[in-house]
Amino acid sequence: MNETIGLILLIVGISFDVVGCIGLVRLPDIYNRLQAATKCVTLGTCMILLSVVFYTGLNSIGVKALLCIWFVLITAPTGAHAIARAAHRSGIRLWEGSVMDKYADDKEGTEDTA
């Protein structure tokens, strides 16, 4: 029973990862690509780790997988935010089909203090 649940989670997780990778290739600029990469890869990877928990049970491997889920959930969006902010600050333009860029309008005059 647990193996069946683990297998289903594994298949769904890998499908989400594949969708994220296709998005990485198809979408036009870095910001849109980050959207696909963070969302799909976060959930996909978490599901793969969860399937590990179902396969092995709550022993040393399972607990490590659970901790990794927590770390991925915290670090993936933070990393995406850092990449997007750095890209924008180093002057990478949005895709030409973009509608608005309030950040570029407001950014003038504010120096990086972090």
Binding site: F16, V19, G20, I22, G23, R26, L27, P28, D29, Y31, N32, L34, Q35, A36, T38, K39, C40, T42, L43, G44, N59, S60, V63, K64, L67, L73, I74, A76, P77, T78, A80, H81, A84, R85, H88, L94, W95, G97, S98, V99, M100, D101, K102, Y103, A104, D106, T110
Partner: protein, 161 residues
């Protein structure tokens, strides 16, 4: 006191990772937890321990379930946009205001926004949050995004503020 709580937390994580109660493992864990606490204790959020309060914890669980639902919805949203031949996207960066004050609450808000459908938080300047939105549907984009922000804002306010 505060440092001691951090130390116990770090040691707990270490024990889960090594999954052994041998005295050598515990000694190394205590040493590393102490060093890590010395180095990073200052930047650790001040009131993170407040989450042990039952009311706050209850709202944290509510927030967690809502968040999970949005993460799953976000994935189907991205899958739809990526696999569609015409790629229905109208991206742009919008600016919204948030009422949250503490660093911890803001961190959680920004991370939640990144993982919810179509949005990616880019920067904080003052009280304003800049969000890359993959599909701006109307000119009133700011108002619509504010709904997304406020959804989490209320829960996070109960948890952290």
């Amino acid at each position: 006191m505060k440092r001691f709580v951090h130390f116990l937390l770090l040691l707990g994580i270490w024990m889960l990772l090594t999954w052994s109660l041998h005295w050598q493992d515990l000694l190394v864990g205590a040493f590393i937890a102490f060093i890590a606490d010395l180095m990073f204790g200052d930047i650790y959020p001040v009131n993170a321990v407040r989450i042990l309060n039952p009311v706050r914890f209850f709202w944290f669980v509510v927030y967690g379930v809502t968040f999970l639902a949005y993460v799953i919805k976000a994935n189907f949203d991205v899958a739809y946009r990526v696999l569609n031949i015409n790629m229905p996207i109208r991206p742009g960066i919008v600016k919204v205001r948030t009422g949250l004050k503490t660093d911890m609450a803001r961190t959680f808000l920004a991370n939640s926004i990144t993982l919810t459908p179509g949005t990616l938080s880019i920067d904080f300047i003052g009280d304003h949050l800049y969000i890359h939105w993959i599909n701006i549907t109307s000119d009133d984009a700011v108002k619509e995004t504010e709904i997304i922000v406020q959804r989490f804002e209320q829960m996070l306010e109960r948890v952290f503020e």
